[in-house]
Symmetry: C2
């Protein structure tokens, strides 16, 4: 009997309405651990290349890890993964909450869904059992009503539900999946994949507890994590992730007015501090976490914001705030709630609206296109309206619901110059011109621009910061503007580290540089839970596997090194803010990308992983699944 | 004040007769640790490329590590390093004994010697002091007399002395350095480098003890290593390294008659078991080691073998036994003593004699060349005589003393076909046709064919063996005859591991798969001693640094990927023994070498490390020291 995990994954075939159980070999768990890496193992084997991401051929995976559901802080995260309908590449998004521990307690490590049900259904997984249930009565409902009705009909208030809202049903390509109404598998449009399968929700409940190999060590480490944790200056426990808003604005790296500038006059008004003083009713949290970074806010007028939907994270504040030129925290909270009710990714949605605003101000969009909306930056009501229009695919919202790349192409007239996306996915709100490693991350991240690809440059620009990387053997700080090989190396190692956290389902806010988990303690914890004689060397190889597998997936879908780019604007001087005039040197950037390929063991031109690298990582089986890349 | 090391290295300039102390930055210790890696740091910076290895420009380094001299088992090893006069490449050899702990107790981590004294001298290092002393009276003396005289004149029986014998003085290119008369820095001819500098010996004595960061952890791990150690079947504590002789012969991989066959009829007679039953008087050992694998043998007739010179290791048994067709353990012990007295590497010396025997049997050498010696395989007296002739550079010995490559070229008439060497250095006695990873190691090892480049294939061909590599993430056994990418990966990782042991001065016989040290415990021990928050990831990068630095050193000396070869015989069927008919497939072998380059991050054709790999390893400073490789 394995320790830490169940050794069972649930296979659901919605075409046939059948369910089966698979028991992967222990070595599969050792090599892939969980998260995107484990998902990629199945996607690469079973997804028919270049199939329609919104067709029944797409495979949707929900997976935690070999340690999720055990007691240490921060093990609440899981990945949803499939081919993305937004990027047409590897799609993956992580969420916290309570869903994945509950799935593990129900006896499964993962759920893999194929096909398309012939009418709306939901999955009900409980104590080793699983059923496909009718969801016709839930179709069209917001996430809150969906959750309420499922709990009511299954007569259990403690059921954990991951569901889509109307946006996912309507195949909005920036739709997300939510559990507990506020924990989102946000990016890459996986809500639309779920919708395309006529799958409204997955409800889980279990009473099992996870066995661990060394109870005493698990208890000791869990306690140590709690006892030694001190909230650092940049931590987000007390004031939520939005606590960074003012700091970023002062540093000139708060994306504002669609990345035209990096400081926002209204930063203070939309900050975590202001939120705490005004609308916050509770600090929310996830399974087993004492940091409690989540927000629960209440607004009674002019919008009715219900704390059950949580509250805005930093990304959401920037999305609907600085990006749209809006300094109204109540409106931002309402937009957040709309996104959580409709099942929309706040980052992509805010990015799309900001893009539309710039198009509008440049006469690329006219009021005839917007249904009369005066879509200027700063227009609160227009922003709110646009969220709903995207969620419903109404009017201009229908165009935007197909994603930024397609929308910009359809609009023409220079709209592409305002389209701040990579691989079709809108940028999250971290300004690469002020921390250039973020630019590398945006360009090469297999899931499109991803602020969670690695912890950002400023952490490693000081002696105190770099000392956290001692276990990686990095001994000297690297400047935030440095795009040379030392920055690339930092990125390569940290990408492996962050991909490892992803594979283990560890919340990044609970790991260094943010939280209590350290490199070496993570190793000790995985050992204690699984009984495996692992090491940091071994675990970081899993992170490296993730990057290589995702790369192969994308190349097989037809992406090339030409897709590892940045929007043109980032090579132009910033128009305002503290860093006005700063830009990324394009030549240096292109060189950094090649350096990245080389350091990864990939061909420096094509970015195709070398066979030898794949063999080193025990990934040579992939060659048979993407033969044309290696012929 | 650093923990585990002194932070001081001794610089000796024999041209000027001056001594100085250098205090390297802590980061130098972190990145290079010690051993060959630390030595290469200085050689790459200070050795003038392509200088004569026997000229005053050569730089001779003696170095332990940041943990040598602390209490755990197996920390007795140190490296001597310089440009090799045998391979004209990076020369390095490790020895155990008591010398390096004593140097650390005397206050220094390393000794770096340049120039050439104008008459024989020795170094006397004691309690932070250092002197260059006259050694004219010691010149020409055997190691034993040298040791006795130095101890007498310095009036301290506990002084530890590393010295050369007459062979080093005469610049025999297979001369070694010995401490305590029996612990040899054996290979790559460093005794000749010492001789070329007119440096007879380095005597050390100190009373300091090394401070460690975490006394309690050091004590706990030291005790754990002792308490949990159980001698495994292949271990060499009880019966010495020669215990493998019969087993290797039965498996067909005991090099016999100059690698013509792999089984030897007389194996039993020259085995560790026979040694124990007949001539062994004591099990010897090194500083702090409870395994006691060293032999001390006594023979009274027909040779007078003194236990003070130790006893033959497996390599020596094979060198003068199976390789020369000799089943006489007394004669082998005498040859061993002659080597230790003259200061000759037993492996190279035995290899040279075996080569000469095959030349003699094929009429390439005639009795006029041998001074009348009937140099047939199996002729005991001829073998003994040849050892002395090489040590004294007499007759045919003078030719052989210049190394196998030169000797074969001078002899012509097909002698090169019998010359079992790589890069000019005779092969040690492990048969690559029966464990093909050894072939990769022989070919690519920067110091010439080296059986200590990694633990050999048979250990990893079973589930029990491979389970030891769990911390490296290697989960499946690899067959001994497999030359594919999985074998190369095994080699790459294990080379890093073995290079790490070298950099830490850990005796390989005290580490897995032989001894008690495990991957993860080594990390814990280094942490406990130094206080550094290191990891297996970080430490293996030091091993990777070693391979890259040595590679650059060699390329800078003019070696190319064409030097990463094997003697032609290994691609031919074995002529006898259990594995008769087995050969290495040349095409597979060449492919494996390319795979090795690729996995190392080197150019697959030239084998030049890529700039990006160097930057990753913080070795980009090397580019300035070998600009032509990177232009």
């Amino acid at each position: 009997m394995p320790f830490g995990y169940n050794g069972k994954i649930l296979r659901v075939d919605l075409d046939r309405g059948s369910i089966s159980i698979e028991e992967p070999d222990e070595n599969v768990y050792c090599r892939y651990l969980g998260g995107g890496t484990f998902a990629l193992y199945y996607l690469l084997k079973e997804f028919k290349p270049k199939s329609d991401p919104l067709g029944p051929e797409n495979i949707l995976v929900f997976i935690g890890s070999v340690i999720s559901g055990t007691p240490a802080v921060g093990l609440s995260r899981f990945s949803a993964a499939a081919k993305s309908p937004l990027t047409n590449a590897f799609g993956e998004a992580e969420a916290g909450g309570w869903w994945i521990p509950e799935l593990k307690f129900a006896g499964y490590d993962a759920v893999i869904i194929k096909g398309r049900a012939n009418h709306p259904v939901y999955l009900w997984i409980h104590d080793g059992e699983a059923e496909i249930k009718d969801a016709r009565h839930l179709w069209g409902k917001f996430t809150k009503e969906t959750q309420e009705e499922i709990r009511k009909e299954l007569r259990d208030e403690h059921i954990r539900i991951a569901s889509i809202g109307p946006a996912g049903e309507k195949l909005v390509r920036v739709a997300c999946i939510l559990n507990e109404l506020k924990h989102a598998n946000g990016r890459t449009g996986l809500g639309a994949v779920m919708g395309s399968k006529n799958l409204k929700a997955i409800a889980v409940r279990g009473n099992k507890r996870m066995e661990v190999a060394d109870e005493e060590a698990v208890r000791r480490i869990t306690k140590w994590l709690r006892d030694t944790y001190e909230e650092p200056y940049f931590s987000i426990g007390n004031l939520g992730t939005a606590r960074v808003t003012v700091m970023l604005s002062e540093q000139g790296i708060l994306p504002t007015f669609n990345f035209r500038q990096g400081s926002f006059e209204g930063a203070e008004a939309i900050s975590g501090e202001t939120m705490s003083k005004t609308i916050l009713v509770r600090r929310g949290t996830c399974y087993g976490c004492f940091i409690r970074c989540k927000r629960e806010v209440r607004v009674t007028e002019p919008y009715l914001v219900d704390p059950i939907y949580g509250g805005p994270e930093y990304e959401t504040v920037a999305a609907f705030g600085s990006m749209c030129g809006i300094d109204n925290l109540k409106a931002i909270s309402w937009a957040n709630q709309l996104c959580n009710a409709y099942g929309l990714d706040t980052i992509s949605t805010g990015g799309l609206i900001s893009f539309a605003m710039e198009c509008y101000e440049n006469d690329i969009l006219k009021s005839t296109d917007t249904g009369g909306l005066d879509l200027r930056f700063g227009n609160v009501e227009a922003m709110i309206k646009m969220v709903e229009m995207i969620g419903k695919r109404e009017g201009l919202g229908d165009l935007l619901a197909d994603g930024m790349s397609l929308a910009a192409r359809k609009l023409g007239k220079g709209a592409e110059g305002f389209a701040m996306h990579v691989k079709g996915m809108p940028l999250p709100f971290h300004e690469p011109r002020g921390k250039v490693g973020v630019g590398i991350g945006y360009a090469v991240s297999p899931t499109g621009p991803d602020h969670m690809e690695f912890p950002h440059d400023p952490f490693w620009a000081t002696d105190a910061g770099i000392s956290l990387l001692r276990p990686l053997g990095i001994l000297e700080p690297v400047d935030v503007f440095d795009l040379g090989p030392k920055k690339v190396r930092l990125f390569v190692y940290l990408q492996q580290y962050w991909d490892l956290l992803n594979s283990l389902g560890i919340c990044m806010f609970t790991a260094k540089p943010f939280g209590p988990h350290t490199f070496n303690e993570i190793v000790d914890y995985v050992k204690a839970v699984t009984g495996w004689e692992t090491s940091l060397f071994d675990l970081l190889k899993v992170g490296e596997r993730h990057a290589n597998m995702a790369r192969i997936f994308n190349l097989r879908e037809g992406l090339t090194s030409k897709d590892d780019i940045l929007p043109e604007r980032l090579f132009q001087p910033m128009e305002g803010g503290t860093l006005k005039g700063k830009k990324i040197d394009q030549e240096e950037f292109l060189k950094a990308i090649k350096t990245y390929y080389q350091m990864m063991g990939w061909d420096p031109e094509s970015g195709v992983p070398k066979k030898e690298k794949l063999a080193e990582l025990d990934l040579d089986w992939l060659i048979d699944y993407a033969p044309s890349l290696f012929s």
